[in-house]
Symmetry: C2
Subunit: 187 residues, 2 copies
DNA sequence: AGATGACATGTAAGGATTGACATGTCAATT
DNA sequence: AATTGACATGTCAATCCTTACATGTCATCT
């Protein structure tokens, strides 16, 4: 379901587009919250077309098909946003590593945690670059606010938050490791 | 792969356990970063057993099988933690809604955003309750630090961060809506 | 004219995931 | 003794997702 919704959202925001266009836009925008490759996108567009949520507006060169959102598709998107209670579950390998890291020796844990921090910083930089680019291309044609802007803000805050957490955790592990090898809980 | 690792981690932290035990522990701990139901856990344990990562230590009443981690399993877990570069991708329906919310009219967007904030607050309370419970049961048998403690800390920080973001976003939408058309709902 | 590389669309196989179904045991109640 | 409900384990079908394979077009360079 989420893939459909993401595609309807992209199509709504970008106007009529081909599967190829959508796949590229996916990578640079929605991919921060939901991922899909072209091998998933093409069949899904076909199914959505069969279900009447999108329609082929035109066929361009090289078999290129331009899709647009139908009124049914728009209704579906709105209904999902307004009425669907999103699952709170998150799946993240990074978070899984952070969960399991206390199983390692302090030295090993530090290695892992420092790598997590590095990845977190890289991710933060990436999002900051994205924000700069978006600010530069600020497009007043969009309804109001900017498509994906709130999500980008959320991503930035959580990325900063992650780096702070990594810093504090590294300090904590160093403190515990220094305090005494055997003593697990000096409090 | 991640499911395997999560199970190895749980088994390592909890000591020998049955599939049922692991499924329950999954729900209350790892589920915050990775989800799996019993219908995925039982077959995976069987495969892991065939691969020599875990072994059936004993068979209890009602066909209950007690698994333990083998040296190979321990090595696999450590290797994954130390050498595997976790994908930074995150999949979250909540984040997807936040991404798409600018496509709605301000009034509708406020409805969605307020619901997101409510869910965020509920999630935060849940994690805080979990922390209190964990602090109470602080178990010195664990190697050092507490299994999952860093992840819980991360979850708490990000949950707070999410609520702040929702608050600011709601204020932003209200401001924009007020500037353009009639004020929709300032409380 | 032929080679190259970016553009564009698709299929197929295999594994991961979910939700529903199915089975049987044990403890406590009626 | 029979019923109930929690315990415990599993399978199955359908869907989702990833990776790899396959095909063909168009523009540009040589």
């Amino acid at each position: 379901m989420s893939l459909r919704i993401a595609l309807l959202g992209l199509l709504t925001a970008s106007g009529p587009s081909s599967g190829y266009d959508l796949a590229k836009k996916f990578e640079t925008s929605v991919a921060h919250v939901w991922q899909a490759g072209h091998s998933q996108i093409y069949p899904e567009l076909a199914k959505m077309s069969a279900d009447g949520l999108v329609a082929v507006e035109a066929e361009g060169a090289r078999g290129r098909k331009i899709y647009r959102v139908t009124p049914d598709g728009d209704a579906e998107l709105r209904r999902w946003l307004l009425a669907h209670d999103p699952s709170t579950t998150v799946r993240s390998e990074t978070a899984l590593q952070s969960f399991l890291v206390p199983l390692l020796e302090p030295g090993e844990a530090l290695t892992v945690m420092r790598r997590l921090k590095d990845r977190g910083e890289a991710h933060l930089s990436e999002l900051e670059a994205l924000r700069v680019r978006k600010d530069a291309v600020m497009d007043p044609a969009h309804r109001w606010g900017m498509f994906g802007a709130y999500a980008l803000d959320l991503g930035l805050r959580q990325a900063r938050c992650f780096v702070e957490w990594a810093d504090d955790s590294i300090a904590d592990i160093e403190r515990r490791a220094g305090a005494g090898q055997g003593a697990p809980d000096p409090t």
